[in-house]
């Protein structure tokens, strides 16, 4: 009886120890699937990818036991700066080619980046559209408070292009640091409208409505992705990028409101 107990205890302990270790090392037990990648993969991704990449990350982890995906979501330009300053990232997914160029020009991209989705601006308004906004021209009124992204971040650059295409000049009350900050000002009711991506409105469906406008076609954002040159875990990084470009990955992105490239 005691011998049996001891045996059981030993088995449990061994299993527990192996379980703990499989995170870090190339463990033959956990690599029993089709894939052989292991370890942590650090993905720096634009703020607008938060929900879809979190989903894709979970799918990727499920398909590759032994891999852990760590995300850092922020404005693409901030991420590009961090990467060029030596942040230990494996993958960079940018919301604009310009920020990707910052990284590749500094010699930090492994190869040429791939555009994996495109995104379009919409006007985010509080649920029910109380100000009856139908287009960009409606935002140019003194009693309508508008939040835009700062021109230094992709959504701000895109907003500038769309407004120029529409011939509308407006004075926003604030130039937010990234698209999610602009959206949250709408959700909090502090502004009446914000120019954000369609995907952001989709992610905040309960609080905000998205108003499509024709000029957004002039400011479509390409999202490039790349494996970074100094990626600490290159095989897993490449596998993650492949997963994003694969059918299941693209399906998640399309469901979130992105367009195929």
């Amino acid at each position: 009886m005691t011998a049996r107990r001891l045996a059981l205890f030993t088995v449990i302990t061994v299993v527990a120890l192996v379980g703990c270790g499989s995170d870090q090392s190339t463990d033959p037990l956990s690599g029993s699937g089709a894939s052989t990648v292991t370890g942590d993969v650090t993905v720096f991704a634009a703020a607008s990818l938060t929900e879809s990449f979190t989903r894709i990350g979970a799918d990727f982890e499920a398909a590759n036991p032994g891999v852990r995906v760590v995300f850092s979501f922020a404005g693409s330009s901030a991420l590009a700066t961090q990467i060029n300053q030596g942040a230990p990232a494996d993958v960079f997914a940018s919301a604009s080619p310009a920020n990707m160029t910052t990284v590749t020009d500094a010699g930090n991209g492994d190869r040429s980046p791939t555009v994996f989705v495109r995104n379009q601006l919409v006007i985010a308004v509080p649920d029910g559209n109380p100000d009856e906004v139908t287009g960009l021209a409606d935002l140019n009124q003194p009693d309508v408070k508008v939040a835009l992204c700062a021109e230094q971040v992709p959504c701000g650059a895109a907003a500038g292009k769309a407004l120029a295409a529409a011939g509308v000049t407006l004075t926003p009350v604030t130039l937010e640091r990234d698209v999610r900050a602009a959206l949250s000002k709408v959700r909090l009711g502090e502004v009446d409208a914000a120019l954000v991506y369609r995907t952001d409105v989709r992610a905040a469906d309960d609080d905000v409505d998205g108003i499509e406008f024709p000029e957004s076609a002039e400011a479509i954002n390409d999202y490039p992705i790349v494996v970074l040159k100094h990626a600490p875990n290159r095989p897993a990084a490449q596998a993650f990028v492949d997963h994003v470009l694969s059918g299941p990955g693209q399906a998640v992105l399309t469901a979130a409101g992105f367009q195929a490239p």
Binding site: S77, A150, Q152, T174, L175, L188, E190
Partner: protein, 281 residues
Amino acid sequence: MSRRDAVLARPDRSTPPARTRRTGRVPVALLLPAALGLLFLVLPLAGLLVRTPWSTLPQRLTEPGVLTALRLSVQAATLATLLCLVLGVPLAWMLARVDFPGRRVVRALVTVPLVLPPVVGGVALLLVFGRQGILGGWLDSTLGVTLPFTTTGVVLAEAFVAMPFLVVAVEGALRGADVRYEEAAATLGAGRWTTFTHITLPLVAPGIAAGAVLCWARALGEFGATITFAGNFPGRTQTMPLAVYLALETDLEAAIVLSLVLLTVSVVILASLRDRWLSSR
């Protein structure tokens, strides 16, 4: 009359206690970490100087955006400090001199913004003073006043974060001050208000000045609460720290230049105020 003067005279300061004792050598176990600590604090600032683009510095400094942000920063920090003085000194006096129930709780509450992440403070301010906030909604509907995205909003955000520094400093000064002067004034018939303005305030003036300097410096560097509550718009709510953050998005050199300006302004003003107010006596 002479008796009163004698009572109110300052304590004898002709023989201050020796502050530094020079007996024995400094133990290496203390010297080494002290030197490392100093290096850790100074090295990043030196790094800023090393990476400064000195050749293009003059033209970068005269860019209109830099001066606008600097002026706004100094104005907002000064207004915030004034607001903190008007509200914070009486608060510190209450905490130091009035024995009321729940004083410990109040003191703890006052110091909460010290440990609260400033972004959280900004969100909290939005929920109260925002357009749909508890007070902000009322202000908006009855007076037509909105605070977010205005310079007033910047001042409020900075005051919220910086006031605890002032209150803590002034309360410390009040507790350290000799209560006998105030008691003497009271026995001579001075009311609490007269005592406060004629005895207490002059007595703790250096402490108030120190608190105000700390408060001003904290307000000048405020980022999280400001960008969350007041947003970011050049000339209206974009203070230097916000300008640094956004410059960092695209132009590292511009961010370094802005940081250098902020650093210089802080050091110069702190140094001059210390000389004038704190070590003159």
